[in-house]
């Protein structure tokens, strides 16, 4: 197994954003590997609860996939947009394949009720979320994008604000509504 340099990842991202599907083939396993690795850490109880360590590990994983420092693009917004889009693409695709594999339910699919009970491990049905985000984008693209950047891209409120060149307050406000709307969408879909 080997690694790709941040520069190579950036190049692949650029290629992918221009429509090169083979770039996706190279990027997908990287995401899968990060995913599995994190899952393994959870399983091995290395990350009890949401400690700072857990957050740091997740952030690290994102950093490896989406590198802040090495972005040479003139348009950071574009770059992070593409990154988040990519993550969304891969993770949703993964969830979709698991669901079809299992015939009946997605692997990454914890019911919202269950999520409510175990609030700290709340999860979402990525496939339904993807659909809902598409619906949202149809009448409020900015909110959809904020969710994409924050949830799939792993960016903080401030980072999202920087990328979108709006104020953090705006991001916070828009995020709040998007979250509420999506939550309702998904819950309805379930019922």
């Amino acid at each position: 197994m080997t690694t790709l340099s941040p520069k190579e990842i950036t190049q692949l991202l650029r290629a992918w954003s221009k429509g090169d599907q083979s770039a996706l083939d190279q990027l997908t396993p990287l995401v899968h590997a990060e995913l599995h690795n994190l899952a393994r850490r959870y399983l091995s109880k290395e990350m009890p609860g949401h400690t700072l360590q857990a957050t740091a590990l997740v952030n690290e994983a994102y950093m490896r996939l989406i590198d802040w420092q090495n972005v040479e693009w003139q348009n950071r917004a574009h770059f992070f947009g593409v990154s988040a889009q990519l993550m969304r693409h891969i993770l949703v695709d993964y969830a979709r394949s698991r669901r079809s594999h299992k015939r009946g339910g997605g692997a990454i699919e914890v019911s919202l009720d269950q999520a409510a009970v175990i609030s700290s491990e709340r999860a979402a049905d990525f496939v339904a979320l993807d659909d809902a985000l598409n619906s949202l984008a149809a009448f409020d693209a900015r909110k959809s994008r904020i969710v994409e950047l924050r949830f799939f891209g792993g960016l903080s409120i401030e980072e999202t604000a920087e990328v979108m060149q709006i104020s953090p307050t705006t991001v916070k406000r828009e995020w709040s509504l998007a979250q509420a709307w999506l939550y309702r969408e998904l819950k309805q879909g379930e019922g």
Binding site: T2, V58, Y94, I108, E121, R150, F151, A180, R184
Partner: protein, 1007 residues
């Protein structure tokens, strides 16, 4: 679908409401929405969702997915069962899934259950290929490959159920304690053996690392996870020219663990083949011995950079106790270029086994006293052998020779085995202490004491311990030694600074042979012959390495320089002319001139030129060049030193002494003699070092032991010389009925059967042994029991045959100084000398047991065929042309002989079929005709069997007498065969198999 304007209103109200306390919101919304109840309901619903949503989508997607994945697997496992497997406990967790100890509820057996991570198993096609490969590997049924019981799926989880191995991974062992070199090699042998089987089946492991190697308490190693690595590899790129990449694992521990064992081609993302496993095994071996991985770095990238660009630190300085051979093996396995690496794991396995055996055998020297029956003039030696440890561990072992034991055979063998174990342990320790192995022995000789006798007393130090040093030379100032290292057609040239022991590779490994080493007179260049693709050329390379310069094409010996160093002499065979020419040229290869020509049949180099070091010697006064030539009658064993005048090319025979072969020679500084590597006895012909006085030609042995000495190189002051000491280790093995490669060992004295093996009618094996210190014939049952000395010691005996009636053993004995045929009963009684001619050899008995056929020299020193009655008497001459080694066919109608085919172009040694009348061969075959060749008939008389050694491994072949192509009979992957014999019915084979270790030794004159 939302109305945009309405959505904006909703948002405005939602955000405003959020600013308020919950209590205030109802009033606010009543007012703001007016009568629009739907609008109000929408905002209220969203506010409720907001409250309920909590941290919905707050944790990043990656984390959410990972948590979900984790709980999914936990769910399955916590259920306690996967399919029919009841989970007992977690055994471990790795990059490729979790492993549980489980109970197969159907069969009641315990299994190791590996759950594959979901993302590995998404691609159905890849999964199928993996399953196929894993099953194929499992089906190998190899003791070192883990057995797979089932590959299946339950609750969407792919699993592999394998045999449960109680033990620990090599990772644990390595982490816990340093591994003894012997153990490490034993482990590596098992891994290599598993890989060999897998590679033969077309399976590459791709992920050999300590985590994938299980050690059972009984020492058995099991290789896990065949095919799994391929599953984890990323999909092939779809026709893109972007740089290929492999999958990234982000756990630093895992990445390090995995990256450290990657081959350079894996690191580059190139297609991998079996050689990638060889590299990884090299890494594992290195780590076992040194305790740390050869390629290290703080990050994965650093580790990969190290794999691609750095040479690992040598093993030896890190840790005492590492045999040089191991360093050599590890280096070859870790070659970055695949082409330079071991090409097959079989080669690696053979080297590992050899080393293992060597460590077990011990690297002992076995000098022995020549038998008392040797004629005066030959030496009577007392040998004393001392192992001196130079570092902190002082070990001393002495062996007095001759080893005068006359105990019963069984006892001798037992003692001998014990001794070898002890010696092995000792040698192990000795190596641990990084010793200089020094050997002293004093040789007295009956010459007046006041005359300075060169090398009358000397000290021998070992320069190499790899067993792979084929040739060596010393610089004129004695500071440097150069030696050829390596076998199996991939030698390299190494320079040793003798004082510090540091080594430098000056000519990297080539595919071919390196030979003919010589330093230029000023010591600034090393000359060598390079044999590649059927062509030999002379090269020179600067002392400390650099660009090698090709000087002379077509050369057959080492060069010898004129006293001023401006010219050199060498021999070139010219088969088209039927000549061998002694040639003089300038030191840069220009200005060639032919000084003298000889019949090629008579002049050296002989047939096995490249296995020895040959070369003329230019005298210090510049007037004479000495070389080895056969007497004008071409006998098989009839060599002499000939002095060629540099002035006019005239020749003069130097000595009365005859040798069976002459190798390299070097003049002493005063010009009053030479040191010559030459062999005396035809029946067992190791080269010894001789001192030959000039001009009177008196010859005297300097060394007198069972080793072969390859080449002679002297310092300018002639006080030190370097040669290569070659030792044979051999034991007798037997095989039955067609399964000739499956042999079982019947003797273990390590020098058994080298000079002869024969079956008796009662299914015992006669073999030569030096268990007593001299060489006699012994007998052992085919099951290895009842070993017993047959002929009395001291003797110099060999080539036993049993008469068809089972009454007598006929054999060659040189116990009187010259080989003669002797006879005794099967139990060794009634010993009787049959012949008293010159150098009789190779007896073969007539079917009626009344006659013995053999070859011997006639009065003109010509080797002819003879027969003599089993009761002795007058010999009868059968052939009138030179030939040797008669072997009678099973129907008794013809012989197989070795002869010089005068009708062939070029004239050469061939194996021919000769009618009993001995007139002329009816057929001839080009079989390998080295001095070691043993020709036998197949039981049906339709074929000749012979030995064929390729890349250091001998196999038996059969040449049908109808001339159809020869076929191999055995499939040995390692070791040499020194001798063999078939039982009369052809159903049993006995072979003397073993090793030849070659090490450069420095011999210093002590005054």
């Amino acid at each position: 679908m939302q109305d945009l304007e309405r959505w904006q209103r909703i948002e405005t109200l939602y955000q405003a409401a959020l600013e308020l306390s919950e209590a205030e919101r109802a009033a606010f919304l009543d007012q703001a929405c007016g009568g629009d109840k739907a609008l109000r309901a929408e905002v209220v619903s969203l506010l409720a969702s907001h409250k309920e949503a909590g941290d919905f989508l707050v944790a990043p997607a990656l984390q959410v997915a990972a948590e979900a994945m984790a709980s999914e697997q936990e769910e399955v496992v916590s259920g306690g069962a996967i399919g029919p497997y009841k989970i007992i406990k977690l055994l471990g967790r790795g990059g490729m899934g979790e492993v549980y100890l489980a109970q197969d509820t159907r069969l009641g057996r315990r299994v190791a259950l590996k759950l594959l991570p979901a993302y590995f198993t998404r691609d159905a096609e890849r999964l199928r290929r993996f399953q196929q490969e894993a099953r194929t590997a499992s089906a190998l049924n190899h003791p070192n490959v883990i057995t797979i019981f089932e590959i299946g799926e339950a609750s969407t989880i792919q699993f592999i159920a394998t045999e449960y191995i109680e033990g620990e991974t090599l990772r644990h062992l390595v982490a816990r304690q340093p591994i003894d070199v012997g153990d490490a090699i034993a482990i590596a042998v098992q891994i290599a053996s598993a890989l060999e089987a897998a590679h033969d089946a077309g399976i590459v492991h791709r992920d050999i690392k300590p985590e994938n190697l299980m050690l059972r308490p009984d020492g058995i190693v099991k290789v896990l996870d065949f095919g799994l690595a391929k599953l984890a590899e990323r999909q092939a790129l779809r026709g893109t020219d972007s740089p290929p990449a492999l999958q990234l694992s982000t756990d630093p521990g895992v990445v390090m663990g995995t990256a450290s064992y990657m081959s350079p081609e894996q690191a580059r993302g190139l297609k991998v083949d079996a050689r990638t496993d060889i590299f990884s095994l090299g890494v594992v071996l290195y780590e076992m011995v040194s305790g740390s991985a050869p390629f290290q770095g703080a990050t994965t990238s650093d580790v990969i950079a190290a794999i691609l660009t750095q040479e690992p630190p040598p093993l030896a300085p890190q840790l005492a106790g590492v045999p040089e051979t191991l360093q050599w093996i590890v280096d070859k396995a870790l070659a970055k270029e695949r082409k330079v690496r071991y090409q097959t794991v079989a080669e690696l396995l053979a080297d590992l086994k050899k080393l293992k055996k060597q460590l077990e055998f011990g690297v002992e020297q076995k000098p022995y006293a020549p038998p008392a029956r040797l004629p005066a003039g030959a030496t009577a030696a007392t040998a004393r052998q001392t192992l001196i440890a130079t570092s902190d561990k002082q070990i001393e072992a002495t062996t007095d020779a001759p080893i005068a034991r006359r105990t019963s055979g069984a006892e001798v063998i037992t003692t001998s085995i014990k001794q070898h174990k002890r010696v092995a342990a000792l040698v192990g320790l000795a190596i641990v202490a990084a010793i200089t192995l020094a050997l002293y022995w004093m040789i007295s000789r009956g010459r007046s004491a006041n005359q300075a006798t060169p090398f009358a007393a000397f000290k021998v130090s070992r320069l190499t311990t790899t067993g792979k040093a084929s040739f060596a030379a010393i610089s004129p100032d004695g500071k440097y030694a150069v030696h050829v290292m390596g076998s199996a057609g991939q030698p390299s040239l190494w320079l040793r600074h003798i004082a510090t022991g540091s080594d430098k590779e000056i000519v990297p490994a080539i595919r071919g042979t390196l030979s003919g080493l010589a330093f230029s007179k000023d010591g600034s260049y090393i000359y060598y012959d390079q044999f590649v693709k059927g062509e030999v050329a002379l090269y020179r390379v600067p002392l400390l390495g650099g660009i090698a310069q090709r000087l002379v094409a077509d050369i057959d010996t080492a060069v010898s320089f004129s006293p001023d160093g401006t010219q050199m002499a060498y021999v070139r065979g010219l088969p088209q002319e039927g000549k061998a020419a002694l040639i003089i040229a300038n030191a840069d290869g220009s200005g060639e001139q032919r000084l003298a020509s000889f019949n090629i049949v008579y002049a050296y180099p002989p047939l096995s030129a490249l296995a020895q070091m040959w070369g003329p010697g230019w005298s210090p006064d510049g007037a004479t060049i000495m070389m080895g030539i056969r007497d004008s009658d071409p006998n098989l064993y009839n060599w002499n030193l000939v002095a060629v005048s540099v002035k006019d090319g005239t020749t003069r025979q130097l000595t009365a002494q005859r040798w069976s072969s002459i190798g390299q020679m070097a003049w002493l500084a005063d010009g009053k003699g030479l040191i010559v590597a030459a062999a005396e006895h035809p029946i067992y012909a190791p080269h010894q070092l001789w001192h030959v006085a000039y001009p009177d030609g008196a010859a005297r042995k300097i060394t007198n032991d069972l080793n072969n000495y390859i080449g002679v190189s002297l310092t300018a002051d002639a006080n030190s010389l370097i040669t290569v000491q070659s030792e044979q280790l051999s034991n007798v093995w037997v095989a039955t009925d067609g399964d000739w490669s499956h042999t079982s060992q019947v003797t273990s004295n390590n020098h058994d059967g080298i000079v002869g093996i024969a079956w008796t009618p009662d299914r015992r094996v006669l073999y030569t042994s030096i268990a007593t210190g001299s060489r006699e014939i012994w007998a052992v049952s085919a099951d290895g029991t009842g070993a017993k000395q047959v002929t009395p010691d001291p003797g110099l005996e060999g080539r036993p045959v049993v008469t068809p009636d089972g009454r007598y053993i006929v054999f060659v004995s040189a116990s009187t100084g010259i080989s003669h045929l002797w006879r005794c009963d099967l139990d060794g009684s009634n010993l009787r000398q049959l012949t008293n001619g010159q150098s009789e050899s190779s007896p073969s008995c007539s079917l009626d047991s009344r006659w013995v056929y053999y070859s011997a020299l006639n009065a003109n020193m010509k080797r002819l065929l003879w027969k003599i009655s089993i009761d002795g008497g007058e010999p009868v001459q059968l052939s009138d042309f030179s030939c040797g080694g008669p072997t009678l066919s099973p129907d008794g109608k013809q012989f197989a002989v070795t002869f010089i085919d005068e009708t062939a172009t070029p004239k050469r040694y061939r194996v021919g079929l000769l009618p009993l009348d001995g007139r002329s061969p009816t057929k001839a075959f080009d079989l390998p005709t080295s001095p070691r060749q043993i020709i036998r008939w197949t039981a049906d008389g339709r074929g000749l069997t012979y030995l064929d050694t390729r890349a250091g491994v001998t196999n038996l072949w059969a040449q049908p007498v109808d001339g159809s192509p020869a076929k191999p009979l055995t499939d040995f992957k390692s070791d040499l065969i020194f001798y063999y014999d078939w039982s009369r019915d052809g159903k049993r084979l006995a072979v003397a198999r073993g090793l030849m270790t070659n090490d450069a030794v420095l011999i210093n004159e002590s005054r």
